[in-house]
Subunit: 196 residues, 2 copies
DNA sequence: TTCTTTAACTTAACAGTGTTAAAAATAATA
DNA sequence: TATTATTTTTAACACTGTTAAGTTAAAGAA
């Protein structure tokens, strides 16, 4: 019965890939059962054999997007000087990823979840994503006694919420009005939290 | 032609009131043309004689909600000692308002706006809402030389984004998990920004 | 190979949603 | 009162999600 699993996994993959394409392109509002199935090359009803519904499906994309974002962040920041500067670089790279793919920001932070309990692991992954991206660098700062543990926790927490807030204002309310202003604001805020 | 205006205003008011009831009760996802018209006592098509669509209508509620929130915040914080303590009290009261009415948070910060240009004044009102609630108190702090102007601006900005971020995490991702934990976190963050 | 059973997939249908044009009802005017 | 203008409703279309029934394809047995 190994075939079954392989086939099922393949089928799921077709639908997931279609969903990811739509999310990155047209965005979350364009995700629909019929839309996904069309792109995957199946009937809309077939999707229900592999996923509870389209909402369930989109959350299965979270892991892939996090992996993609992680790759990008790592490659963009590998030459950054270690410590606070690198944390800042990682954070800015993380911010730019979501600006490039607003649909993914929506999925991660905005999309309403009706069945919170079943998606708890996914939610946890989302909540801790930025922390995990920066963890190695925070550890380095702690080792080097550049920051006290409780201060580091505070700054991590601030960073998480300020970044989410800024992205929310920019992506849903176009505030600040231009991308340059937005980037300047983000840099200023991040720098201020990390301590100049 | 005065009658016309009065009648039109009255009709609009019926639809707006219905929309506000739905937003405060069932939330933004329950807002639909047919739903609103039902509550207002008219056919769904009638709504289009007074509003471009339901999205347009919900944004006409923003001002009323801001006025309601302002009243609540003022009454809840009038006994607070002036200065930073009052800014903190105002911010916490503001936060609690949105937790009580998650649908209003969605409307203010989450709901996608397709015609950004035409709703610019409304968006501006939303963006500056917390700042305006605290403005009098910031002015007081500046007068008393409790804070430098540029530092005050920085703190205002931080407050705006941290508060939005915390509310976003709590209202869409139930993080932190309990209301008490959420309130403690919010207080900690606000206090830290305002300087202990 | 051919028949039968099982699984996979698609079609059809229902109940929603937004939106518009035509029809009906109401109000205003001559 | 009869005609005209305005307002409101009904009907229709194109979407959405979701389920049950029908069809097709695959797997197993004789």
């Amino acid at each position: 019965m190994d075939k079954k699993e392989i086939q099922e996994k393949r089928m799921k993959e077709y639908f997931i890939q279609a969903t990811k394409d739509i999310l990155k392109g047209e965005g979350l509002k364009a995700v629909s059962v019929r839309n996904i199935a069309d792109k995957a090359g199946y009937s809309y009803a077939t999707l229900y054999n592999y996923f509870k519904d389209a909402k369930d499906l989109v959350f299965e994309c979270v892991k892939d997007f996090q992996e993609e974002c992680t790759m990008i962040v790592i490659s963009e920041t590998e030459k950054s000087p270690r410590g606070f500067q690198k944390i800042k670089a990682i954070t800015m790279s993380y911010i730019k990823y979501f600006v490039q793919y607003p649909g993914i920001f929506e999925l991660f932070f905005v999309e309403k979840i009706y069945d919170l309990a079943s998606k708890q692991p996914t939610i946890e992954m989302i909540n801790t994503f930025l922390d995990r991206l920066c963890q190695e660098e925070w550890d380095y700062c702690l080792e080097q006694h550049m920051v006290l543990p409780e201060v580091a926790e505070m700054k991590k927490s601030q960073l998480r919420y300020v970044v989410a807030g800024i992205l929310l204002f920019y992506l849903t309310r176009r505030n600040p009005h231009t991308y340059k202003e937005f980037l300047d604001l983000a840099e200023l805020q991040v720098s201020h939290i990390l301590g100049h």
